[in-house]
């Protein structure tokens, strides 16, 4: 075989492979359309730039979808991740065109895109996590919001009841209402403990402003990292709190909190962390023994319920408010033992909050 011929064969093989790949584009058509007979209910989630593996709300929303699928096998779930805010609109539109029964979007950044799509497609059902669009034309959006200050109140009480030094701390990632609401509730819980027990536990890192705290605005002054990624900064802040006498710290900063765990491990036994958003003993099981508890946001459950409701035709637009009552927010205990007496006291307080007899506004209790 001459040189030229061999070259020809090599090229032929590659071009052949390439044409097979391209040719299979058409082959695929039949096989995919064939299985579309069972009329499943499509539930779709558009994630933020974090993607479905962010160990935060995107992951929780996706988990909620899968839970819905587990309960109702007729629900088919799929997701689209965004690389930037410019992707929100086309991602939502893609799902609109694919005939999704409900489209779940995640986070305040998708507020505008979700609102536009909802107003453009009156019959399309939407749910948006942690946000409430203000200018909707139809009742086709369910805003999933969480009054996390209720569970944070219980967290604050637990911290105050558990501290040996009489000082606890908190800090946030960035000064967003969804962050400061946790810190506000935490301070309220500590102050409530001081009031009923006549104690004087101090809180570092957050001083609530006058007035009430809502998801639209929750002001005050406190300590913030400036982002949700810098674990070193989280470690430094926490170590400073420990140096100032604190023994329990409540980071409200996503994965930055892992820096707090590291600081507690360095400081040794007797120091602990109150985790946030999703149960620390599940998402970070290795460090469970350093967690006194978790102030959880019920993203999974609320997304699951929204999807299930849509699948069974019981979807209603409006606002879902996650509270202690509907388990949209909760205090979960960690790896550090808590006396039964404290647990029962917290259970009683929870009932009081649900009944409206105990306020979670820190301004209703004297500051120490």
């Amino acid at each position: 075989m001459s040189r030229g011929d061999r070259r020809g064969v090599r090229l032929g093989v590659w071009l052949g492979t390439a044409s097979l790949v391209l040719g299979s584009l058409t082959l695929g058509v039949g096989s995919l359309t064939a299985q579309a007979a069972a009329k499943p209910f499509k539930a779709c989630v558009v994630t933020d730039t974090g993607g479905i593996n962010d160990k935060s709300f995107n992951a929780s929303a996706w988990k909620g979808m899968q839970d819905a699928h587990a309960r109702n096998k007729n629900i088919v779930v799929s997701y689209l991740s965004s690389t930037s805010s410019a992707d929100y609109v086309p991602n939502i539109n893609t799902f609109v065109h694919r005939g999704c029964g409900i489209i779940v979007t995640v986070g305040f950044l998708m507020d505008t895109a979700t609102q536009q799509a909802a107003n453009a497609h009156p019959t399309q059902k939407f749910a948006i996590v942690d946000d409430a669009p203000q200018h909707l034309k139809y009742h086709n959006v369910l805003a999933l919001q969480y009054e996390t200050d209720q569970a944070a109140f219980l967290g604050g009480y637990l911290a105050a009841a558990s501290t040996k030094t009489g000082v606890v701390g908190t800090y946030g990632g960035m000064e967003f209402p969804s962050v400061t609401m946790y810190m506000n509730g935490f301070v309220a819980g500590v102050r409530y403990f001081d009031k009923v027990k006549g104690a004087a536990v101090k809180v570092l890192g957050w001083t609530p402003a006058k007035g009430t705290c809502s998801l639209a605005s929750c002001g005050g002054t406190g300590t913030f990292v400036g982002n949700f990624t810098d674990q070193t900064a989280g470690k430094t802040i926490t170590a400073n709190d420990f140096a100032a006498g604190a023994d329990i710290v409540f980071p409200v900063a996503g994965s930055v909190g892992l820096g707090s765990v590291a600081a507690a491990q360095q400081a040794g036994k007797g120091h602990s962390i109150m985790w946030v958003d999703s149960n620390g003993c599940v998402s970070d099981a290795a460090d469970c023994s350093w967690f006194i508890g978790t102030v959880a946001k019920g993203v999974e459950a609320s997304v699951r319920d929204a999807v299930l409701a849509a699948a069974s035709g019981k979807f209603h637009g409006g606002t879902y408010l996650g509270t202690l009552k509907n388990q949209g927010t909760a205090l979960e205990y960690g790896g550090i033992p808590v006396p039964a007496s404290v647990k029962s006291a917290i259970a009683t307080i929870a009932k009081g909050i649900m009944a409206g007899t105990i306020s979670v506004n820190p301004n209703n209790y004297p500051a120490k």
Partner: protein, 414 residues
Amino acid sequence: MPEGRRRWWHHLTTQRPWLVTLYALVLGFVVGALVIITTTASVLDAWRAIFSSWSALGHAIKLTFDVVGAAYRTMFTGAVVNPRVFWHAVTTGQGWTYALTPMSETLTYAAPLIIASVGVGIAFQTGIFNIGANGQAILGGVAGAYAGSLIHLPTFLHLPLTLLAGILGGVAVGLIPGLLKAYTGAHEVIVTLMLNYVVAALLIFTLLSTALQQPGQQNDISRTIDPSAQLAPLFGAASGLRVNWGLAVAALVVVFAWWFLERSSLGFDFRVTGANPQAARASGINARAVIILVFVISGGLAGLAGIVQMAGTTHYLDGGFLIGNAGIGFTAITVALLGRNRPGGIVWSSLLFAGLGVGGRAMQAATGIPLDLATVIQSAVVLFVATPVLVQEIFRLRHTEAGEVRLATSGWGS
């Protein structure tokens, strides 16, 4: 062989730049197919089954082609056109928006990418590595957002002003490495690279602590720019297609860049400087002026890309603007490389990259294969383009008269 066919065969087996790019593309998709095969559990299981029974081979092959085929098919229909939907629109006159959305989306993403890549390409042709296009684009977006949301004017004044603000934002960031290199010899790669971080921090600062922040918001999100400052949808808001006048801006930029590089005296100075700085100096070209001007033009185009991205799609900024995978200023470097730094080549490579991204999303929605596959293909294509020797060996290409196919960028020396 008949003469005509022989000539074609000669074409296809002789190494030349466009052919290497084409074959690199083919290889990129082959690599993508391998990734799909090795990461899809069902396909792997089917192949494992052939160890117990040879009869499973047919099934394994069929499944492989089904899965890979479905992925690339949805990628294509999601990025260009779905023939079935298109035919439906033609025959019924209904659903044109749906039929044209894929193309509209690809063009929407391509427009700012073309602009940024042309800026990077002009710098490359002058021998300057502008790794800071992303930072320049971000500040372009920020400056444009100020002009678009805090000043209120009629469209014919407001839109040009907003675009101009974007350009000036990019120029402002670009001038820093330009002046430093011209007057102190500081290496532009390091300065531009580091400035990206500075600008990213500046973005957050402007969104949280200045008048740009959306009123009533405590989150890192900007005001929405006035409709008079927005790049309106090309076919009107009612069309439902996002493709906007940013595409026209990109077209103007391409024409300008072509004229600049091929026809202008200044562009000639740029090319001489890029090809042989010593000869440029001996020929009376003012190297300092060229360096500064390169950064003005390259930075200005990057800034324009930033404002086109914002004014054409979201109409507001958030803390993730052009950050991470969304950084068109970084993508522009590879796009310019793929397009061999020429305006025409950049148009094609931008469309390819935009199409892979848009099609990748459609593929993810339809098949569950992660969007990252598009990135894998993009990277593989660039890798093959950057190593012509590899492509030449795989396809056994003949050498051309000139000898070697050169890399589009030949070194990092300053």
